[in-house]
């Protein structure tokens, strides 16, 4: 057997906190053979990223390595002094991070950042580095690399940034590249293209990789072997095709079950015929016309749809397609032109919306961290809509139990809750008003797959209890195909398709809808 590129033996890591040491990684043992891609899957907090930082030798100050060793080829990484480490990072181990928007220095042109890396890691001259960078960018299918190199990071899209980062990582010709959730911050189609690129570059260069993600479906497509982590321990390691078909460990089973599969429908009833909300020719404009500047183009163009009582309407599309603008218009956060009728009543735009409509239509936002006021306790947060919409303030406990949280959580601060728990509180806040339509704006996007599954289950239970309709905005097509009655597809501010769920595979759908379906990773097996 050949020497593995990366070999980790009995690695144990603690973080020192005010409450004593906390074990983050426990007896980790991993091998990555040359040219192999190892997928590392686990929920947030399972220690995936800590392991990545341990390999990169960039641990926080309060980290204490208890035992074990990490070897890159035949170099013992733990024994390397700081100066030698800089010769390992970038040169022998590359890394691609989750969020491309914060990975590039916003004050330097893109080209300088690539050439600088190449000059340092490969010892090229400036001119050589420049030609090499051009070749690299061309190789990752970026159009007009010459012009791109002169631009600043804010002038290019997230997908292009991630391509540049990947090109740079591969360009340094390392032995191992660590990918930390490289597609999580991107929308489906962009993410799918990045994955294709990754697969191609990997086949060409034969570099070994550690691919970290919380999405088992995605990892099983790109990796040769998959390792599953839970609470800092490796619970299962198996070839990618086997882990999905025959998961051994209960934790892997949970992760496999949580992956949304379009063919497994979770909603079986049909909505009523009564039209709850009818939106016609909604177009949203953000900035007003300035004195010397023409008005900016509208974020959405004359979109029309209706939501029936008790219906789940899915809205999908990539980022910037105007999905969220629709949510903002319907809740009075953005001004719009066009008309909305709710229960047959016409509704005024913007801040003039009446109280009855504001009670009946509630919204749950994407980021659980920012949707709860950090200076108010959960009890206060929930009591406010009750007081405002004529409920009984003593119902806070009942609301919490409705979203499967203990009533004692009323005394907690938001920062004492996990992401999933915060999202439950936000859902409870929406349901405090006894709404007939709840708008869910990408509410599961920042959550782990398993937490996402439990939130979806909660929403469906609440719907069964209250008969609420949902306008469910998402970019996860597999998820929405499990629960929606109808799906609206948006692109560039236009509604390109509005289909019943059974018709989504049909022949007459818009080509873009077909692209979206093709880009959504379906699990292997």
């Amino acid at each position: 057997m050949t020497t593995p590129v990366l070999s980790i033996r009995n690695y144990t890591l603690d973080y020192l906190t005010a409450g004593g040491p906390v074990r983050v990684l426990q007896d980790i043992a991993l091998d990555i053979a040359p040219g192999e891609v190892l997928g590392l899957v686990g929920e947030s907090g399972s220690g995936k990223s800590s392991l990545a930082w341990a390999i990169m030798r960039h641990l926080p100050k309060n980290a204490r390595e208890v035992s074990g060793d990490i070897r890159l080829g035949d170099t013992d990484l733990r024994a390397l002094p700081g100066r030698d480490l800089t010769r390992v990072r970038g040169r022998r181990i590359g890394m691609v991070f989750q969020d491309p928007s914060t990975s590039l220095n916003p004050t330097l042109p893109v080209g300088r950042q690539i050439t600088e890396t190449l000059v340092i890691t490969r010892g090229l001259s400036q001119a050589e580095a420049w030609t090499e960078a051009l070749a690299l960018l061309g190789h990752v299918e970026l159009r007009n690399p010459e012009a791109l190199m002169k631009r600043y990071p804010h002038e290019i899209s997230g997908g292009e940034k991630q391509r540049i980062l990947i090109a740079t990582a591969f360009g340094c010709r390392p032995e191992l590249i660590v990918f930390d959730e490289p597609t999580t911050a991107l929308d489906v189609i962009t993410g799918a293209r990045i994955l294709e690129l990754f697969t191609r570059l990997r086949a060409e260069t034969g570099v070994a990789a550690l691919y970290i993600s919380h999405d088992l479906a995605l990892v099983s497509r790109v990796a040769d072997r998959v390792a599953v982590m839970k609470h800092g321990k490796l619970v299962e390691e198996a070839p990618a095709d086997r882990i999905f078909r025959a998961p051994q460990h209960p934790e892997t089973q949970i992760l496999v079950d949580a992956v949304p599969r379009p063919e497994r429908r979770l909603v079986h009833d049909q909505p009523g015929e009564r039209v709850l909300l009818a939106a016609q020719d909604i177009s949203v404009r953000y900035a007003r016309r300035r004195l010397f500047r023409p008005a900016p183009p509208p974020a959405t163009q004359a979109v029309g749809f209706n939501v029936r009582a008790g219906e789940i309407l899915g809205v999908v599309g990539e980022s910037g397609s105007g999905k969220s603008s629709i949510a903002r218009a319907l809740t009075g956060l953005a001004d719009f032109s066009g008309s909305i009728r709710f229960d047959g009543r016409p509704i005024a735009a913007g801040r003039a919306m009446d109280r009855q409509y504001r009670r009946a239509v509630q919204i749950v936002f994407q980021h659980p961290d920012s949707s709860l006021n950090p200076r108010q306790k959960v009890g206060e947060i929930l009591a406010r809509p009750l007081r405002l919409f004529g409920g009984n303030v003593s119902d806070v406990g009942r609301l919490l139990e409705q979203v499967r949280l203990p009533a004692s959580f009323a005394d907690r601060w938001p920062h004492q809750l996990s992401g999933g728990q915060k999202q439950r509180v936000a859902i409870a806040r929406a349901f405090a008003a006894k709404p007939s339509l709840v708008i869910c704006d990408e509410i599961t996007a920042p959550l782990d797959v398993s937490v996402q599954a439990s939130i979806i289950e909660l929403l469906l239970t609440l719907r069964a209890e209250t008969g609420t309709a949902y306008l469910f905005i998402t970019h996860d097509l597999n998820l929405i195909r499990q629960i929606a009655h109808r799906i609206a597809v948006m692109r560039g501010g236009e509604l390109v398709d509005l289909l019943p769920i059974d018709a989504i595979d049909a022949e007459h759908v818009h080509p873009y809808t077909r692209d979206l379906i093709a880009a959504s990773p379906t699990p292997v097996g």
Binding site: L333, M353, R358, I363, N373, Q376, A433
Partner: protein, 276 residues
């Protein structure tokens, strides 16, 4: 709150600042009882007496005990500066937050007005106000508060703009909350941290500004033993008896340093990233 205090004391700046402030607070509260002599007792035999057993910090041009004057004068110096800063902070942070919440044209109108006011240097503005309102300690306090408000409004607004984009503020707008609720209950509590720090730093400016106004004869009036006034009075005897000038100057400097240290300590203590 106790947690914040614990973290504050753990930083060296915070601990020293807090200790100095406790001493100053004690002087403000018990100054007249601590003073060894009557601060206004004139002793012609003891004019310009250097520091010694009789007068620990020496005596001034009228033979009054400098230490006693300092101890009694703390009352008319520090609380005034504190009150002026707090008043300025309250006005500034409410205006700044409201401006960020309203946005658009209102924000533009409020901020351009504030820019115009800020173009006038603080001391000049205070001088202008005092000369309109008339001399006296209370008027000087109001003038300093007004001079501070625009700066506070700017600092607050920049923080409030971020808070304005948080989803909990949007949730409140969607619920149909009134503007006053959103400004006072949803936004203000979340902009307080940087504002509190800015305030502690500005208290030291206020002490000096107040001393300057009194020095110019526009703040406290003689024979009050306000520290700035003491410096002003001592100016003409600086070659004869420098201690009359040095003692109140040091007192002003110590106060300024104490508040600055507290501000530094608070900045570290309130930063959640330092929570380990």
């Amino acid at each position: 709150m106790t947690d914040l205090l614990r973290r504050l004391v753990r930083t060296p700046q915070g601990a020293i600042g807090l200790l100095l402030l406790l001493v100053l607070a004690a002087v403000c509260l018990f100054g007249p009882w601590l003073a060894p002599q009557d601060p206004e007792k004139i002793d012609f035999l003891g004019r310009f007496r250097p520091a010694g057993a009789e007068n620990w910090f020496g005596a001034d041009q009228l033979g009054r005990d400098v230490l006693s004057r300092l101890l009694v004068g703390a009352r008319s110096t520090i609380p005034m500066a504190l009150a002026a800063t707090l008043l300025g902070t309250v006005i500034g942070s409410v205006v700044g937050t409201a401006s960020a919440y309203l946005g658009g044209r209102w924000d533009e109108a409020i901020m351009r007005t504030i820019d115009a006011v800020m173009a006038v240097p603080g001391l000049l503005l205070a001088l202008l106000l005092v000369s309109t309102l008339g001399n006296g300690a209370t008027n000087a306090m109001v003038a300093i508060a007004v001079a501070f408000a625009p700066g506070m409004a700017r600092v607050t607004r920049s923080v409030a703009l971020n808070v304005r984009n948080q989803d909990y503020v949007k949730a409140a707008i969607v619920r149909g909350e009134r503007g006053s609720w959103i400004v006072f209950r949803e936004m203000l509590p979340n902009v307080m941290a940087p504002v509190v720090i800015e305030t502690t730093i500005r208290v030291s400016f206020a002490v000096m500004l107040f001393a300057t106004l009194s020095f110019l004869g526009l703040g406290a009036q003689p024979p009050a033993s306000e520290w700035g006034l003491m410096v002003a009075d001592a100016r003409q005897y600086v070659h004869q008896a420098p201690w009359i000038l040095i003692a109140p100057s040091i007192a002003i400097a110590v106060t300024a340093i104490a508040f600055n240290l507290l501000g530094d300590g608070l900045r570290d203590a309130m930063n959640p990233r330092n929570e380990r």
